[in-house]
Symmetry: C2
Subunit: 197 residues, 2 copies
């Protein structure tokens, strides 16, 4: 894959792709700037023409991950709306989708959300947007009081986000997968019940 022209042509995107590959297995710590440039076949400093520093590249990778995560969450939502309470099922699906993505792609999840870095790039990360939509639908269906809507995303996001982290790095880490799934479902149900009740 050796480059033949002096200029790469699409280095920025190529570096983000390399970052995706590196972080997928190793998390944020594996996003070594020199590794990314090596993988692309470019000198380390070439990265600085497109990103201010390592952190900035990592931020771009995080945004790319958030979009993938949002896509996967939508694939969970799609089959859900059949049933009596489509809106509630949809919210449940969004939550479980979030958790499943975190468990399936721990490295990516860490970069997208678990890092200490502020992800101020996007005002609203794509997965959060999916949650907001689901909550709005719950208001539209009359299941959630309109007055209770503002701020309702925080309990929801807190629960699924926290659960994802416990499942990845916390004590749920080495439970059998089925037990983890059951705990996830219970957590999501509990927070929704608590919110509506």
């Amino acid at each position: 894959m050796a480059r033949v022209t002096y200029h790469h042509g699409n280095l920025r995107e190529a570096l983000v792709d390399a970052g995706l590959e590196l972080t997928r297995s190793g998390g944020a710590g594996a996003m070594v700037l020199r590794d990314a440039t090596r993988q692309v076949g470019v000198s380390p400093n070439a990265a600085y023409r497109h990103f201010a520093d390592r952190e900035s590249l990592l931020g771009a990778v995080a945004v790319a991950i958030q979009e993938r995560m949002s896509d996967r969450m939508e694939s969970y939502v799609a089959p859900a709306p059949a049933g009596q309470s489509g809106a509630r099922a949809r919210l449940t699906a969004v939550g479980l989708g979030y958790i499943d993505f975190a468990i399936a792609e721990p490295g990516w999840f860490e970069v997208a959300f678990a890092g200490t870095r502020q992800h101020s790039d996007t005002a609203t990360p794509a997965p959060l947007a999916r949650l907001l939509e689901a909550l709005d639908a719950l208001v539209a269906s009359g299941e959630l009081d309109r007055a209770a809507r503002p701020g309702a995303e925080w309990p929801c996001w807190s629960a699924v986000h926290g659960f994802a982290l416990l499942a990845l790095t916390g004590p749920l880490r080495d439970l059998p997968a089925e037990a983890v799934r059951a705990a996830a479902r219970r957590t999501v149900e509990a927070i929704i019940t608590g919110l509506l009740g």
Copy 2:
């Protein structure tokens, strides 16, 4: 504070203390091994007589932080038990204490719980032990069905842990403190209601 004897005398503890100081403001990334040894007035390699590597020292610091956190959570619990449902108030206090510690000491919280590192040192981190006690009390008071007790800690911990992270590095970061407190209370109430209901 120059040392006069060749041997330090209590290097292990001194390094943990240095780690506490470093991480308090800068989080896990600020725990630079060479900085810790410099601060103690010892050569970098001296640390390796007490810790296998940087990660191991960081783990010891994390345990120390967890104990401080547990102490602070107990100070929240103490004034609570007066009232009709002492057990429920106690659980609420544990949750809010967890969140308040995280907001008050973001660097420490990151090391103790937010890091990607597995904290397998202690089987049950001290703050989690406080939560388990509060849940047991809820069973004893009859408010939580005994059959629902196993695994009840996961929804609870998920909610407060997730909230703490959102408040530190997520979108709740730059809300006014009062709004954050309100959201925290709502989150804790919601998860408890969802659990009992």
